[in-house]
Symmetry: D3
């Protein structure tokens, strides 16, 4: 029996009613209070763009910039970054408190502004670290022609500009926002670094698609990863209800000057000693002595 226009309209209306039944939405419905800012993907993407423009002037951002005008540009960008970050951090404070665990946190525009200013105060240090990452990527890739190519193209630099900013927000206990930022980089580059990870200077990742770095990883200086490397958890203890216990150290520790080749998988709270080399496709769940080469 063919559908009539009336029967189609009836279907649509009935479905709207079913979908609007808030009793049946469980945790899938987020109510907003008037005036609460919303976490906003386009705003967070603008924040990423502003961080890149401020940290790497002339490479990112839409404007020409030279040594006579760089001060003006950074001044305007930092002001806008402060404004946008404040709304998004406030949104995270409101939004993050909503959900399965019923926690509530007093949203607070002033607290959000404080946190935004604290993040911005960290940016010179973040730039210092990123400079070491750029150097590492340039020196580590025979195909790299110059710093400009590395900064403009390399997924590792895109992922690390996001991660290093998100990590500072994570350190400041800003909820939700750091995670959205690293997921945006994950979507852009295929590199998934949890904002809680601790990563030293001169860090680089070649190609990068499929790399996973877990929340409790601690990584030294001068470390290099290739595409497809997982630094993950092996298993995790459950509480009395059978749910995973949160916040337990469960990801690898990597020393300085470690190299992990493509598609290697390192699972659990294991230590990879400084100077160790882990071969491609290796599957590893135990400690490795400094300087060791582990091959498949």
């Amino acid at each position: 029996m063919p559908y009539t226009d009336d029967s189609i309209n009836h279907i649509l209306q009935r479905t709207v009613d079913e979908l609007s039944d808030t009793q049946r939405m469980a945790g899938l419905f987020h109510q907003h209070h008037d005036g609460d800012p919303l976490p906003s993907i386009p705003v967070l993407q603008e924040i990423i763009g502003l961080c890149r423009a401020v940290l790497l002037p002339g490479y990112y951002g839409q404007d020409r910039v030279n040594s006579a005008t760089v001060h003006f540009h950074i001044g305007v960008e930092v002001e806008r970054l402060f404004t946008l970050l404040t709304t998004q951090i406030e949104a995270g404070l409101c939004f993050g408190s909503d959900g399965a665990d019923g926690a509530t946190e007093q949203p607070c525009r002033h607290k959000a502004a404080e946190l935004a200013a604290q993040l911005i105060a960290k940016l010179p240090e973040v730039r210092g670290t990123l400079a070491t990452d750029v150097e590492a990527a340039y020196l580590g890739d025979p195909a790299a022609q110059n710093y400009g190519e590395v900064i403009s193209c390399y997924p590792a630099i895109k992922a690390l500009t996001c991660f290093r900013v998100a990590h500072e927000l994570y350190q400041l206990d800003v909820p939700l926002i750091p995670r959205i930022l690293t997921e945006l980089a994950h979507s852009e580059t295929g590199i998934d670094i949890h904002p809680g990870a601790q990563i030293g200077s001169h860090f680089t990742i070649d190609h990068g698609t499929g790399v996973v770095i877990g929340a409790t990883c601690i990584i030294g200086h001068h470390v290099k990863l290739y595409q497809g490397v997982t630094l993950g958890a092996k298993s995790f203890p459950l509480d009395e209800n059978g749910n995973p216990i949160k916040n337990i150290p469960r990801h690898p520790l990597l020393g300085d000057h470690v190299i992990v080749y493509s598609n290697a998988t390192i699972l659990g709270r294991v230590s990879i000693g400084s100077g160790a080399v882990i071969g491609a496709n290796v599957w590893l769940t135990h400690d490795v002595e400094p300087g060791t080469v582990v091959q498949r």
Copy 2:
């Protein structure tokens, strides 16, 4: 000999003529009839956004929403979803029929509207299933702070909102559109699920980059995959012309409560019994008994 402006103009014109020679375009040229709607990536992205806004109100969509106004928002979104889906399904009916096999199908706005309404009527059920996926992701990840974080950030939820809608369209025999939808999710998340796959409730994927789930997979309830897992075909029979025979079951069957760790590869029409655990980087082309743990 340097190029002159005239020689450049001559090159451009000659190339335009060569590129416009329809005799030499083979299957690479798609002619449109006047008035036919076109499959449109921006429209399909808006459709994905509307589905997410309707299924997960307050988490996706640009508007504030609360229990007093959720009915209005869903009403407007469902109406727009119906309008856009109708044009895209019609485009799929027109467009899908064009190509190497020469099949033709009568395009039909009314049929497209019927199919759009049937899809929409499935959305309450889709939301019910997605709720179980969100629960599974939350419970399965010690790093997840609350439902809000899971719904806002996790690639698995982004991929599954697309897949579960695309799968309903696939079940309705809508051509082309389901595949474009899952490819948009693939591009966004690195998770490639064919819309033909059948996937039970409480399904989750951790990190997700590089996951491939083939067209004829059948997956039970409470299954969890990690990044880089392939559920693929081993080989496929060829017809008398040496071309692959279409639509033959050729991908794995997974029971309930199966876990597959990162970068494992399961190929062919094999059965992985309920409760089985497949370790990271395992390569598997044979059946696995229920409850078995397969390690490298």
Copy 3:
């Protein structure tokens, strides 16, 4: 002690000063000369869209097109492509010369226009090769319904439209731009092909996420790769300063009709003979005879 508005303003201003100190920016600051065009991601994305519209008329591009009007559309698109390419190539000539190695190259609008015209003159040939890639993707995937689906959805076709154009620019010694183009495709598809690679006709990649093809690879005709395959470098000689020597052949050679299954890793300047089949998850650093099947 809570932050006051004044102390926040003080923090912001001090940070702006620190971030604007050009003495401390090292290689992270790119100065622009007035009038120099800037490499622009949105413009390069439009260039990719124009190439796809010109090469695959009716499948890409926003306009309806039929045999009566295809000449007009291609004429307008080629003219715009020429204009945009000229600015971006000029930007590459300016920009690529800036960086760690201190090289300088005379920017030149006329040279950029010449190179843009030379690229455009190659497009008919590029279309011919892409037609073989489409055919290979269609014949190689039992799930493909018709050419339309392959051209509209398959990541391999998206990656190869970018790569084959970027490779022509690379052959013309255009700096930077080819690399940005292939990184845009990498971000969109998870397939990372260096523009320097040489790839024959009838090439296809299934699913594709995580594929890496290095700068000095040479790949024959009728080759098929699956997701997660790496064709990489094993190690590379260092110069007297411990830096990698640029431009040394260091990636695999693949003959005709080679198949490499998912997540296989082939490293170094090894030869994979025609007709060889490399199994999933294989790790390979030596030559393979023609016709050999290598399994894990």
Copy 4:
């Protein structure tokens, strides 16, 4: 008593209910049938832009154009003009029939396409007439430097490109759309020409703000108006219900080579003979012999 959040929400909801009461909307509510196109201001503005680009190539439109490529540009623009005009004419056929007089007209995509093609077939003639308008504006203004300035800047040319196209649509009995087009030009230029007016060649208007030309005006060749001139109706006969009778000739007739200076007002079905000059601020409700000068 201060408002609470609850009382505000209560006000909003009650107002939504009142405003949604379709019984009380009288003629102020326009219902749409599914699939009917809507008259769209942005689309009509694009139509105006396309007409200007096609009629005055190189002056309007966003693209560079030269004699080698003008054919391509006009081909693409005419195709898009045809597509957009068809939807808007169809919308006019649907929409115009709705309202106080209860008339209904069968909407018809094919009829709309016919009318769009008929309009397009008139464009070469419209261009011929516009060329005389440009000449008249250039010759009549000592401040005009060249044709380029007249075509790019003069409000008269903007208003006449709209009017001359809208008049052709009016002649084809397209409802609503011609009127919206001339109102868009009215908003842009302050020149209000009813699409029903008949206007000869070499017509120009200096400055133009406040000019009104009524629906039944008939204007000869080589006529020039200044700002603030009204060619209006004096009064109009009422029918038995006291409503104005539609479509009665009620606006002035102007011969050839007439000049009307600023803010003059000519009302009613009067004849202004060829070569007459009407002075600034004159108020005129009677016939004027050819060659007469009427001063205040």
Copy 5:
């Protein structure tokens, strides 16, 4: 002597310094406090669009709407209108207090929300009055084909939707915003109505360009104006400093059923009695008895 790049840069930098000298900016610089909303032209244009969509459903707004869905659309539009109005009223409260008179007013989000809700509560009444304006325009113009044309095209309706909303805000003592709203309508239509004017039902303006209605006008029911009519002030008393005294009644009073023809000028606190007719181009600075016809 030709300019060098250096001399140009020097000029630019010196000018920036001069322009940034806040000591010399007098009243031309508006400082913002962090977090204060800004009056925003794009937001106010969206507010106008929302008011039109809510008041005249199906004629304005981008969405299809029918009797089954009008409730949803108005619900969503009213919610968004409330949100946007609240920010703009708050901006008006902050912004309006800044300037030459040094007044300060406590900005207050809650007060802004109250005022926004009060404005919204007036909208049903505003719609009732607009319905009489539409009727008056339709009946008064022989060229009008139906209500749809009047509502979609007539500048009077565009100006009156803005004015009637702005007048309600003015009555609520909202600073600045009502004036910006009527200036947006002035720019769009050439009709300049001060939001303080009091205007009865069944009001219409034909063509409208150049109409000016002053802040203290009081206009009865069934009044009709033509283009170029000024209802202005003749002169105004000065205070001891020679500045005009604010808020003194100084514009005309018009009774019911008054008609004022094009370009007539009525100045000062004069009374135009009910039923009076003022001819085109008349200049009038004295009272007119009811029923009188005043001609030039």
Copy 6:
């Protein structure tokens, strides 16, 4: 006989051919040379916005600004203004030379940059004059609440920001661009001031719709105009070919402290002495002694 699809296509193609015949385009076709910048309405609108933001910081522009950051904002805005102005002045130099008079002028990016810098160097003086205009508008209107309202809303200020900048460009002999700028203000406000007019300080226009100020007007200080005032040419001498002779003084001279009320028309090279008052609707073609009041 109904149209078929084929006959419609035939009509479209024939019309494209007719419209593309460059032989028949006369002066209506503007050919572009590759690489020439185009005058661009959107860019010129951005230029107007930048001038307003720089001249009236905090009132125009999208950004918050305060005394700590105003230097950054103006620095960035001046840099962008310089870049955009350079392209548009260059476009004017190319474009203005094309047309009826056959003149050619060597386009020159460097000359354009010089002229742009010279314009920018004038901006502090322009701001000084605008400050007197704002003061005049505020003091002259009893309805004005404060400077903020005047600067944000008054059409006179919008028109004068454009005019005063365009006049400086006109003084620098930049072709075409000054005229497009004042026409943009004409369209926005209904106030048409030729960029060649010379206007003193403390100038204001009330309401403004329909005001026309001709190219050779010279206006003193403290002058006030009302809506609809024309300062025009009476007639102009013709050359031997019957064409108007360009650049002859032909518009009124107004002394200081002159007031001209609404819709008054002053034509020809007449002198209106300081302190004169011209009444509404007056029509005037002779000199007026200082201090005289001219009434109708």
